[in-house]
Each structure stands twice: as C-alpha cells, then as structure tokens.
Subunit: 363 residues, 4 copies
C-alpha cells in the first residue's frame, strides 16, 4: 500500500524532494525484452524541461536521467527499472522566511500540520519537480504500448484553454502543439495567449489552464470494472498532478446538460467493424474502453507562487504577508502537458496488462 506508488501491474514508486539529493522512481513488472536506454527516455524529459521559454520557470534543470537497474544490453530484463535524476540547480540561499511562512494555495500548511515537519526548500515533496519522475516512467509505458499495440497507438495532448481564453475547436490540430511554447493545438490561440500571459506576468499574477489529452489506437476492452474502471484510474492519475482541480472524460460536465437522445453514442457497422457515430463518452463505457479515441480534460488552477503580496500566517500562527519571489511559471498548466501524457500512458499500460492478465489467460 505504498502511497507513493501508482499502477497495479505496470506500477511505479516515486521518491524525492525539490532540493534534496535527487528524484527518481522504480518501475516494476515491466515486460522483459523491451528496448530501453537513457537515450530513449531523455527526449520525453526534455519536452517537460523548464527554462525553455519565458512562459515557464527559468529554473535550470538538466533532468538527466540515469537508469540504475533492470536494463541489460539495451533491453529490459523483467526486473525493476530504477531511475535517478540528480538535483543539480540547488542555489544555496537563506530559506528563513519560506521556512516559517505558509504560502497561500501551496501545500506548506497542510504538510506541516500533517507531518509536524516539512522540507520547505523549494516546496520539498510537493514541488512540481516530482513530475519529472512520472515523465520518465511514462516513457517506459509509452514504449511498452507502442510495442504491444503497434503504430496506431499514440498518446498526445495540449493546452486547450489558458485563463478564460479557450481554443477554437474548429482549428484544433494536434500537430500544432510542437510549434508554439504552449503545447497549443490552435496556432491562432497560441498567439493570443502570448500577449495574455505577458500581461498576467507583468501584473504579478498567474493563470490557470485546461489541458486535453487523447489516446488513439486503444483497443476495446481496457478497464477493470467496477473499482478499476479505466476512467476512474485516469481520474485518479490526473488528480495526482500538482494543481489539478478537475477531470472530465469525453463530454464531461457539458454532458450533464445534454438531452438523453443526444448523449448516448449510437452505433453502426462500418467497413472495419462496429462504428460509433459520436464520442460523448470519450471512449469509455461502463469503465471499459470502446476502441474510440480516449478523451480526458483536466483543469489546472493558476500558479500559487505570485509576486503580488498575499495574506497568510506563519508557523507560529502570526499573520504575515507573503510574496513569492523567484523563478515560477506564470501558468503551470503548460508544463503539465508532458506530465499528463505520461500519466495517461502509465494508466493505459497498466490497464492493458490487467486486461490481458485476466481475459487473455485462457485464450
């Protein structure tokens, strides 16, 4: 019952703090003979890397991953794959104030109250830095899914709203996400966001975002009802990401207002078998994948670390004003994209293994 593990068959256990020796994870139950190396994993990490443009934190992290075990001569051996990313950019500084103050919207207060102690340096365990580990684990999941499902499989995602500014879905083109600093699938919106976020930053504020992650090439049958439903596992996965406050599958909250005659996705027989005429259910029915595109959206709150002074208290219960200086993302949602993609891939790899374990045994 490790609280720092995710997944049941394809499972990983994470460790590490923002300013400790390093972060890392152990990925267990990886099938043997899967090609794997640091060179395969590193590009996934590079996508998430901070310091790449002015809209994400300027903290420099090389995020160089070292595989410590489980790989031999370029292939997984079936034994646990441990990975380590050393923390390099630990500016020595006086943490005096941060050590004693609770930043509004952060986990400072809850960690202190829960544990009676906290590593306040850079947010410690609650820092988004931990998400690099998921990206590394997600890289293995992604390789596994590619090997198992073939070239039709693909997980990708992007930012579909920043602050109050949503993309125009008529312009949605997933191939656009790599052409702008926002992982935005709408090139026009991306340009608008640039101006908007510059304004937000100048005001000493921050912005939230909505991300959409989709998976193609997922076969029908993944997901283990009732308490291992695919959408339940996806929701759990996404809600573990820092600053995520909402998850929806397919039509999500909008479905609540839809007429029952529209909501259910009708079926016909197409040239390649069953076809759905719509995808309001986002590729999941009864907790099991339908074979359609999986569609998940997540809501990310505005970055809590802002320059504008906020009212708070300190560890002695005294009232203070908190100003968070330093290198912070004006919109943490942006760098959440590779993380959410990773959590999707991990959840799917786990679901695939669990499905095959039960339903493939006697075939």
């Amino acid at each position: 019952m490790s609280d720092n593990s995710f997944g049941k068959l394809f499972s990983f256990t994470s460790f590490g703090e923002s300013h400790g020796a390093g972060i890392g994870c152990i990925v267990d139950n990886v099938p043997p003979r899967l090609p794997l190396s640091e060179a395969i994993i590193q590009p996934y990490l590079d996508r998430r890397k901070p310091g790449q443009n002015r809209f994400v934190t300027q903290r420099r992290e090389d995020d160089e991953v070292e595989i410590l075990s489980g790989v031999f001569e370029g292939q997984t051996t079936g034994t646990p794959v441990a990975m380590l990313i050393r923390n390099k950019d630990q500016r020595s500084k006086d943490y005096g104030e941060i050590a004693r103050q609770y930043r509004p919207g952060h986990a400072d207060y809850t960690y202190q109250e829960k544990y009676g102690i906290r590593d306040y340096r850079g947010g410690g365990r609650s820092s988004a830095r931990e998400t690099a580990v998921r990206v590394a684990a997600g890289a293995i999941a992604d390789q596994l899914l590619k090997a198992a499902l073939g070239p039709s499989y693909r997980v990708r995602g992007g930012v579909v709203q920043i602050g109050p500014h949503a993309i125009d879905r008529d312009r949605l083109d997933w191939d656009e996400v790599d052409n702008n600093p926002f992982f935005c699938p709408d090139p026009v919106a991306a340009q608008e966001w640039e101006a908007y976020l510059d304004g937000v930053r100048k005001e000493g504020s921050s912005a939230g975002a909505i991300l959409e992650i989709v998976a193609d090439g997922i076969p029908v049958g993944l997901g283990q009802p009732i308490y291992g439903k695919l959408d339940s596992d996806l929701a759990a996965a996404m809600m573990t990401i820092n600053a995520v406050k909402g998850v929806e599958i397919g039509g999500g909250f909008a479905l609540s207002a839809m007429d029952g005659r529209e909501a259910g996705d009708e079926m016909r027989t197409g040239p390649d078998g069953p076809e759905f005429l719509s995808n309001n259910n986002g590729g999941v029915l009864g907790g099991i994948s339908t074979g359609q595109q999986l569609v998940v959206r997540i809501a990310i709150k505005p970055t809590s670390s802002i320059l504008t002074p906020r009212q708070s208290i300190n560890v002695d219960g005294e009232e203070v004003d908190v100003v968070t200086k330093g290198r912070h993302d004006p919109c943490v949602g942006i760098r959440g994209v590779p993380v959410a993609e990773a959590m999707m891939a991990i959840t799917l790899a786990d679901a695939l293994m669990r499905h095959r374990a039960q339903c493939g045994l006697l075939d």
Copy 2:
C-alpha cells in the same frame, strides 16, 4: 489487486449482478467495537431505494441487508463484515432482444468485447443496482467517522443541476435536500425541475445532472501524497459511480479561468486557530485536507435507457434500432446522491485510517 475492491485500509470488495442471486460486499479492517447492526445500515439504503417517486425507477427493491459476519452482540469484532442483499424483484421475462443488442451509451458492447460473455439481464454487473452495496459499506464508514471525529463531522450532498437547470447558490440550504424528491438544496429549483423532468419523460428522453457532495468536520492532514492524495482518491471513488463523466474539487474547472490573485485561498488567524478567507481549493491543498469544508462536484450523464429509438448493432454486427422499455430513471443522477455520499464517507474513512497509521504511530 482485486478490481472489485475500493480503499486501502478501510476497504470493501463488492460482488453481484442486477438479476443474479444477490449483491453484497465484504468490508475489511473495520475497527473493533464499533456499534453496528442491520438497523443502523438500513436507513442509508432506504434513502437510495428506487420506487419512491415518479422520478426514479419503479423497480421495487426492498434492498434488505443481512450482515453475515464481523458483528457480535451489536458491535464489530475487527473481522470482515460481509453484507448480502438478495435480489428479489426479478421479473421472469424473455431477454431475447436485450441479450443480443447493444444499447447505446450502455456497457453492453464493451462487456461483451472484453469478456466474450456477459450477463445481459438488467445490465448484469454494470447495472446501477451494484451501488446499493456501496451505500451499505458507506454506512459503516459513516459510523466510523462519527465515532472518530465527533459530532462536527458530517457528509451530505445533493443535486445542484438537472439538465441545463442549475440551482441558485444564494438559496443553497443543505437542510432542504430531504424536502423534495431530487435531493435538491434549493426549494425553488426543485419545483422547476419537477416540470422539466415530466417533460423529459414525456418526450421519451432523459436528463443529466451535477451533484455536489460536501464534508464538514474533517481535520487537517488527511490524504497521502503523492499517489494517495485525498482529491485523487475522491476522484477515483466518484468516477467508479455509474454514468459519472466528470469530477471537480472546490472551484474545479472554473478555477482555470480565475486570476491567480484570487485563486489561492488566503489565511488569517482566527479565534480558533488558522482560518482561510475562501475555499477555492475545496478543502484540499497538496492532496491533504486543510480542515475546511470538502467540496466535490460530479457530472452525471443522462440515463442511456430511453424510450426513443436509437441506432445500434447487435452481437452479430447487424444494424438494429434499440428501444429501452421498462422501469428506468429519467435522471439517474438523483439516486446518485446517497451513492456519492457513501463513496465520500468511504474515502474519508480510508484516508483517516491511513493518516493515523503513519502519522499517529509515534505520537
């Protein structure tokens, strides 16, 4: 890794199909010496019972629970509490069509494809009937939390939107939920919904809903970061409920559009200790409860079983039109309230036990 279990310390495992011998569950790791009996559990089940008004299915289910184990002389013994609810209202009928057709929006197709077999009677395992089991398990969780947290603890919820019609939050009064057939905390909205739902039913359609579940009297510190975050566990719990397509905590999706200067909940020192000036985070920071009211909202899609004919296919891949006759809720969301309350209580009981297990050990 039972896929039909929920919870890590306070855990329950569920079984049963809509039209089989019965449904039930085993609740494990219940603390000993908790007062428990069928009489304590039954009222929770009665709240969820169908057939109570014209807005929920007219299927008659007595939902009479029998405790099979784990209770001795009115108290739990620390051994597993098994509960059984026999299926009584199993009208014998010819399932010929349903046996071969996939109802749009249902799990018929995905179960058949996943398992190569399905108990099609009444939806089998995917029927909402299974949720009675959660209510029974939730009753134990609720008793446990009352015993552990005292009278300030309370979980309750209601429907805050049906179809496109939301309540007026200025009129929100949780004490109103028992005064109308919709668990609606706004008496005016409840009246409007009556007319609206009658119309929906006459049109042979159905409506979705948004539910809000809140918990009071929750101490700071519950939730186990990173992969046992309280909000992640709550999201997983809610997403296992039939027809749920979205979950949000506190401000949820609306937070994405909020200014960073508004979003973070500021703190002051009040007469009884730390106080938050707002609750955009819904009582969770960094995956740990803040001591504020916990606020969760879930989106429920319109009932898939409707009288209006829908296009679909059958098990042989032939195109068919499906009309779902019989006793179905025009809005399944309504009866979801006691179920969502139960999942909230179960998640909290589990979080409380996990927190105390780790952080209370050396105190």
Copy 3:
C-alpha cells in the same frame, strides 16, 4: 490491503465465523468463460467435510455452497464470484465458560487482547471452519489451472506423518490417499495410525501431523522475484492455515545438513529437453518454478482442544482449569489436506496469471 484477502491477481477475500450466519468469499479476477457451477465446486468441499469418520470432528456440516455472482449459464463472466456457505449446525448452548476462558493453544487470548472483543462461539473467526472457504476458492483455481495447463497439471497431497509416526517413503503412492481416512499415501502406515490415534483419543490427547503437497505439470517460469517468489507465496499461503507451524520446500530443513556437492540439482539434456537429476530444491530455484514437481511440506501442531484439563486464565485474569469438551478432531492435520491442496492451487493460479501478465505481454 485487505487482511482477509489472499492472492494478487487471482485473489479471494474471505469472511465468516464458526457460529455466525455463514462463511464465504469473493474470488476476483477469474478469467471469463471458465465452466463453473456449484456441482463443480461441491466435490472439493465434500473431501474436507467433517463427520466422515471417527478421526475427524463429528460436527455435521453440509458445507453446501451457493454461488451468488459471477457465473452465467454455467460459465464465469469475469466479474467477481461470490460464494456463501450457511452455518447450519449451530447447536444452541450456553457458552458461559468458553466465553470467559482462554483455551491453551487457541487464539482466544490473542483475539481478546487485540480486538477487545471476540466472538467466542466455536472459536469465531479463528475456527478451522473458515478453511471451507479456501477449498471453494481452491476449486476455482484448480479448474483454471486445468484449463490453462492441460491434463498434465495436478495438485495433490497427503499426510506423511502423524505424531512421531512417519510413512515409509518407499511405499509412497499418491493414489492411496483416497483409500484410508487419513489421506495417507502409504497403506501400511495408515493402518498403524488407526491404532495410534485411537490411543491418543482415549488418553484425552491429540496428535500433530506433517503434510506433503505436490504439484505436477507446472511449467518453468512461475514466481515473481524477489518479493513474489513462488516459494515465498507458498509459505505465506500454508502458514495461514490453522495450526501450521512450519513450511519447507523440497529438501527443506534436511538440506541444511547436506553436503554442497549433493544439494544442487544437476542437469542433463533429456529427450524432451532439460532434465534435473534430483529435486532437492522442490521445483523452485531463485523463487521461480523449474518445471519439476513442486514439493511442499507443512508441520501441523496437535489439536489444542483436548479433554485433559489444562491450566489457563480467564478474561478477568483468574487462574482456571480448562477442559474442552465437544466434537473435536484428534488430529486436525488430517482435514488440512484438502485445505493445503486448495492453498497450493490458489497460489499457483495467481502465479500463473502474474507470470503471463508480465512475461506474456509482448510475446
């Protein structure tokens, strides 16, 4: 983390007390389309049934199993299989003394101290009655293994020692176990035990036993190192059986005294592939099955319930003499055979599913 569950993929969760409403279990993750019915399971239970001869308890239990879920038209559906065995033979009696006394060698004292409450009727949860549930779950595991591994697969076992009287291994013939009331694979020893056990009973005492369980037709590769080793899982499984105080694999404790040149099982190439020249390791190397016969032995202590008065204390700490009247097995080890076979089958079914889940995914 249900403490009343066993197995990771093929898993079951057990409930019930000796004199409560009934005992039962939920078996989860059973592959779909496995033929199953009460008629298939009942013969396994009948083997374990008490009251069949004078060497086992005369308590009459029909142990009639009812499948509550997970089976449709004679096949498993992939949903949880719940099974219930009602307690029928509950003689109403005054439990006054037993309710207050701790029987030496029983769990009375530890249950009371642990939980602060106990269902003392017939030993409650600690009664060997619970083992009927394992036999029912083991029946499903056995069916699964037969379907997956074919006719070469077989689990069987017997008693190889009662009190100080061991069988002569030169006479070991597994086909003999059904020809005597002791599950003894040596017909000569069986006759000797009859006289011996009659003497033990007349003296108001009881006898211990050693059981041996073997599995044939197990492929190489089952077992998940390091903490899911096949022998570790087998040891855990066997040690959960009432009165078991020791487990050994292959040569076991005798191996400790063996010369290193004898101990390691040498290999040659035979007509059907690799062959081992001996089986000191009992079919497990590095926690993984070798393809040889699996050999497990377990030590069972003498029945604690005996007519001879024993010194003890009561719940008030007062010193008392305890005489256990009633219908007790002079040697509980005998009826342990079907239980140990069941635990072996369950462990193997789980190991098979776990192995295939990981190592079969990319094949």
Copy 4:
C-alpha cells in the same frame, strides 16, 4: 502489486543487480520525525558486509548507503526514504562461460526461461547482493520499533546449526553472537564449526545452516488474521531470502510429533499479568503475537557456487560441466543473519502499523 515490494503499511520496494550501477530501495509510509541518517543505517550494513573473515565471500563491498530523500535535518519527513548503494567492486572480466551456462542450484536457468533474457553478471538480480537493501530498510524498521516499543524491544539472531552440527541449546547465549565469525550463540560450537568449515572449503564443497531469529518486547496483538497472520508474513519474509528452503515458528516441525497435552502453552497469572508456562507456539497464536518471545527458524541450503565440477547444460541445451570459481561464501547462511534480522524487523514494523491502524483508531 509490485513484485519487488514487501510490506503493506511499512513497505519497501527494492531494485538492483549484482553488477549493475547499484542497488537500493524506497521505504514508504515511514512515520515522520523519526531520527535517521546514513550514520544510523551504516552499522547495520557493516554487520552484513562481506570480506570480514575467511568464511564469507572475499568480494569487497563497501556497501556505503546514500539517503536520497525523505530525511530533512536528521529526521524523517513522512515522504518516501530512498536509499542507494552503488556497486563499486565490479571487476571487469570475461563472462563468456557464465553467460551461457546454467550453474546447478542457481537461478540461471529459471531466470532465462522465465524472462528470455538475464543479466548473468554475478547472478544479476538473483544475487545475494540484493539483501544489503533489506538490511538498510530493516535499519529503519528497527529504529521505528525502538521508538514505538521502547527499550524492551529487540530483534536478534544467529546461526544455530552449520551442516549437521547444531549448537548445544544449554549453552545458547545471544550475547555470544558477536564474539565469533559465525553469529553463533554457542562459543563451543563456534570453535567446532571453524574446523568443519575449513574442511568443507578444502573439499571444494559448501555447507547449509539453520538460523534462529528472536524478537523480545513485542506486545500482544500484532498480526492480522486470516491472511495477514504474523507467522504467515514472517514465513513469506524469510522465504524471500536467497537459499532459504524452510521456515518454522516456535516448536515448528518438532511440534508435529509432540503430545497434545504438552503442545499447548498453558497460562497462569504472574505479577505483571498473564504468563505462559512454555512457548511451543513461538509467540504466535491464531496469527497474533502473544507477548512472548517471537521465535523463527530458517533452513538455508548449502552455497550452490562450489569448486567441484557439476553436471549442467548451457543455453543451447548442450551438456556441460560447471565449476564456479571466484569469491564465494562456503556457507551463505552466516551472512544471512543480519538479513533475516532485517526481515523480522520489517515484518514487525509493518504488523505494528497495521495493528494500530485498525485497533488503535477508536481508542
């Protein structure tokens, strides 16, 4: 369901191969504010360190542990404690033969057959080198138990038999284990073993051993029946240790031959409460600790790596003779003592947390 994890609440996940980058683990759910540092853990590792005398492998391993996370200013923070031990002594050599041959009694054959690939260098994952990780995790468990149970708590163990030579139990003195190179609690036996083991080594052979591990100061109540029994968990723990082929609790196999009138441990009331007149059950009744000394014995087979040529096959199925050169322990059992102590401490820490989680909640 990580197969490389052990423990449910106090849990650790291990990684690493004998000749890879390093070995290590993540210990999760450690209570916060427990004093911890490398300096506290290192002495535990030093006890297990090879190269300390001629009876253990001459491989030089510094086994220097680095804490990567979960500790801040000398105390645990409640977040996962990751530990890394780099592999330093990796002599570069030609593994040509070992890479292709299956050493009798080793896991070479089973790993290759299971995974279709293996890291053959030094035995890879199946090497006893992995046990250093357990000792590090065990150090944390030991610190936790000391903090929770006070000075009466203590786990210790020793070798009570090497080859056919058992200690004289009348001379058993646990304080003697540090006075000889065998962790032998009988100084006379230790001297005899020296001559015996020198002979074994000269013959190119090896010897098995029996270890006994005891725990004092364990309160009544630890252990979670039925499938989390303390003795079941201990058996599982011990059986994961390399070369262990048997486990017994208290009287163990000898109990099978004992008269029922002797076997049950009678009770009286002593000055400090309930007292047992004997400890045949080794401190466990019904899977729950009795408050007596916990007594576990394990059988360890002779080292499989010996100089004497053995018959085997290679990866192509060709028959070969295998001679294992290099630095191997003539009796691996000796260095098993700190490992078995560690597994005992880990199992007890987990049992304590699980017991308190359930039974301490409402107190």
